[in-house]
């Protein structure tokens, strides 16, 4: 008997997104029924229902811990907003400080807005650092499902946007893109660091 391969994308989604204890058995059951003649459309419907049910299970079992970790991560983001406002207020001083400190290079840098870019980079670094902290916090406080926690933080950031300021060196569209881009990069880096630390500990225990 030849093996009838079930839809790959659906299987991939099930493998990577399903939350639940008996994931492998559920996948095995669906593959077996598909092998017995069920259609690909049936397989897709089963996968989507399983993902929905898994999401309900995740909310049931992880809801409170997830909500608490999201609150803590948002604490870091709001702290960053205050730090960022302070940075923006003092960015003029920083500009002149850099101009003085760079001495003979300053005229050349000024010609290409170089010092302004440097100040912007400092702001961007602070932003990435704070969002990395929030990504790290959410993943550390919610160790059972770190990927779900990080995704939830990113979604929450898109839903409730933080009123933020930054030094304008590019157009309005790019401004928003750089801001969200650096925030996203920060969260992913922080989350990755927390996950890497977790797996390092697991290895040390074995």
């Amino acid at each position: 008997m030849t093996f009838r391969r079930p839809p790959r994308v659906a299987t991939w989604l099930l493998k990577h997104l399903l939350y639940g204890r008996h994931k492998e058995s559920l996948m095995g059951d669906l593959i077996q029924l598909h092998q017995d003649g069920r259609s690909s459309g049936w397989y897709w419907r089963q996968v989507l229902t399983a993902l929905l049910a898994g999401f309900g299970d995740a909310v049931r079992t992880l809801g409170i811990s997830l909500a608490m970790s999201l609150c803590a991560a948002w604490g870091a983001i709001l702290l960053w907003r205050e730090l960022n406002a302070l940075f923006i207020r003092n960015s003029g001083d920083l500009y002149w400080f850099l101009r003085d400190a760079l001495g003979s290079f300053a005229p050349a840098l000024d010609g290409t807005n170089g010092i302004l870019v440097l100040v912007w980079l400092v702001g961007a670094f602070l932003r990435v650092l704070c969002f990395a902290a929030s990504g790290w916090i959410v993943a550390r406080l919610h160790p059972r499902q770190q990927r779900i926690a990080i995704t939830a933080l990113i979604v929450s950031l898109l839903v409730w946007s933080v009123p933020w300021q930054q030094i304008r060196i590019v157009g309005a569209e790019l401004q928003s893109l750089t801001h969200y881009g650096s925030a996203l990069a920060g969260i992913l880096v922080g989350g990755w660091l927390a996950m890497a630390r977790g797996s390092g500990r697991k290895l040390a225990r074995t």
């Binding site: 008996h22 058995s25 095995g28 017995d36 299970d57």
Partner: protein
């Protein structure tokens, strides 16, 4: 773990199906047994989600079984009711029976 005071209809059906299947109670036969006896098609994902909830409440226990090539090498998980689960099913039956009894409109409706 909080004490269970009731079973949902889906939970009760799955637990009864497990009891009927004996040692062959895994996802597919459970869904098929329910479909054959009640006409209700439960998605496999819903069956597992419910089983997980029941397992969390120690009403069922699971055991990993054999894997086959037709399942892409994935093992089956067999489920059985615990003593607590059997007690809970019995209690559910009694409560429903007490509600059933004495309703004139329902008398003889099953025959």
């Amino acid at each position: 773990m909080s004490k269970r005071t009731y079973l949902s209809q889906t939970e009760l059906m799955i637990m009864l199906a497990i009891m009927r299947l004996g040692r062959n109670g895994y996802g597919i036969p459970i869904a098929q047994e329910i479909a054959a006896r009640t006409g209700r098609e439960l998605a496999i994902g819903v069956v597992y989600s419910t089983l997980w909830r029941l397992e969390d409440d120690a009403l069922v226990r699971s055991e990993v079984g054999e894997s086959t090539a037709a399942r892409g090498g994935r093992a089956k998980t067999y489920f059985q009711l615990t003593a607590k689960g059997v007690k809970q099913v019995r209690e559910a039956r009694q409560s429903l029976q007490q509600l059933w009894d004495g309703i004139p409109q329902l008398k003889g409706s099953l025959t």
